[in-house]
Subunit: 342 residues, 2 copies
Amino acid sequence: MSLHAVILAGGSGTRFWPLSRAARPKQFLALATDRALIVETWQRALPLCTPGRIWVVCGPSHVEAVRTALPALPERHLIVEQAARNTAPAIGLAAVRVLAEDPDATLIVLPSDHHIARPDAFQAALEAAARASQSGDLVTIGIRPTRPETGYGYLRRGPAREGGSFAVEAFVEKPDAATAARYLADPAYAWNAGIFVFRADALLDALERHLPEVRAGLTGDFATLPSISIDYGVMEPEAQSTRRIALVPGDFGWSDVGSFAALPEVRTLDARGNAVAGDALLVDSDDCVVLSEGGRLIAAVGVEGLCIIDAGDVVLVVPKDRAQDVRAVVDALKAQRRTDKL
Amino acid sequence: MSLHAVILAGGSGTRFWPLSRAARPKQFLALATDRALIVETWQRALPLCTPGRIWVVCGPSHVEAVRTALPALPERHLIVEQAARNTAPAIGLAAVRVLAEDPDATLIVLPSDHHIARPDAFQAALEAAARASQSGDLVTIGIRPTRPETGYGYLRRGPAREGGSFAVEAFVEKPDAATAARYLADPAYAWNAGIFVFRADALLDALERHLPEVRAGLTGDFATLPSISIDYGVMEPEAQSTRRIALVPGDFGWSDVGSFAALPEVRTLDARGNAVAGDALLVDSDDCVVLSEGGRLIAAVGVEGLCIIDAGDVVLVVPKDRAQDVRAVVDALKAQRRTDKL
């Protein structure tokens, strides 16, 4: 096997505003540890393939941030997508580039902005997936659910195959709360975490079958390609047609670190359940997330379930159960053309 | 009548930390308007007596702050108390100093850290009190209660006297909630706001009667005097003995601006009841107090009844109903010897 890791770093988003900004999206933030999420991702890839076989896909505005975060990344392995076109074109582009260097390449596709608590278990699962992919199957990692999450898509697995993988029966849309509770109790259901392993040539064949215009356009003007995810554009139709999709279970403390409210999942907590970074003094306060990047003291008295985020030039206060609504502030700032805060 | 205003600026306190610091207590903060409370107090005194008849009592560490805030204050009218000894010694000291300049002086004693919404009504009440004081009575202003407040002492008035004043039957301790509700419904009860008018010689006579050691010590070592309030040390015993205490009602939008939670009383509110100063962006938030002195943007989403205070080097977050507990943070910082934040 000739394993290459492809780290997808094209994401942007507002859920971690004001820490994340247009020039510094979530993957460049040290949310779970004192290292940026993309650096953690790089470190997790190293036991699977040497630095000379790691690749990063990102947009033009994040080239410098990637180079700074990952100085050991080979220069030619930084793949710049000229426009954000979601995962199918990004992974297709990476497959073309890696194949040109290594015709026998197997790709390990890793989002750059997740946290994984147990890297050893992660490594074992990815190695199993790599073995399963050598048949030409497209392999997805199915994360064992730990809560009745309604915010993720699910995978429903079918019969076991040789070597510890499973058939994939269906890609399942985000469930309602009752359905999510049922999925949690049923070992057939797994979270779809966007972690994939496949031979590069097998991926391009599948692209040719299901997204021929994407496959054809990878060597042309990237910006003209449609924006489409690999799940929706390749994995789901492949599961319904050739059935050459496999699932390898993963149970390695995965978190997509979806918002400030997710930080207690991935950080060490104090005795009252607070996740604290920077200079903070909490009195009689519980279950808060307090991050100070500005060097200032953040003091709180008698608060519960609150996120207090000091980004230096902006302080954000939002209850954990409203953390998804940070976007509303970003939208208001855009309307006010306060680009220095975006 | 020869009216002199005596502004008591010896107070220190922690309720407005982190805006208030050891070197800049509450009276120097612009809490209600864009002027410091002590400057507002000065402005209210001007229609009653010219700048040449205004005096300020403060401690040694606040001399510069007073000079900066009140540049028109005559140099010899800044009375420095060498130690904080509460209001009886402070007012006695002022009486001695003013009498030496004007043997016919009547003192209008004003706390420096209150807000008054209707200065015209304030002026009328103080002028009535000044007239009532010419008999030699010690006059206190009785504020008409506007809520069942359990945090203040009350005055119970007796029969009306000539000229719109009343006898004072009793000084009443802070009531419980049920008693406070009864006081609110009974026009005989008024809040004791610490605003007094008396002839300087009458005050010194009363000090001689009730606190002779204070009276004798005013020209000696101030720091050896006992710490005692004028209410407890002079007004109450005077009410019980000579009965030469009078009350003049006041209804002029008085607030002692007791904590961050009181700011909605004294500031203009937005449509959702938020009191906001500085650069702030509130989304779906109600009844908050947001003050930014640091030049940073404060953003909040989905919060209610919260105080968010940015003092530049410290950000404080505390629910309004816990605003009295800011002291706990200050105590913790003292224990950590973080004097730069105190």
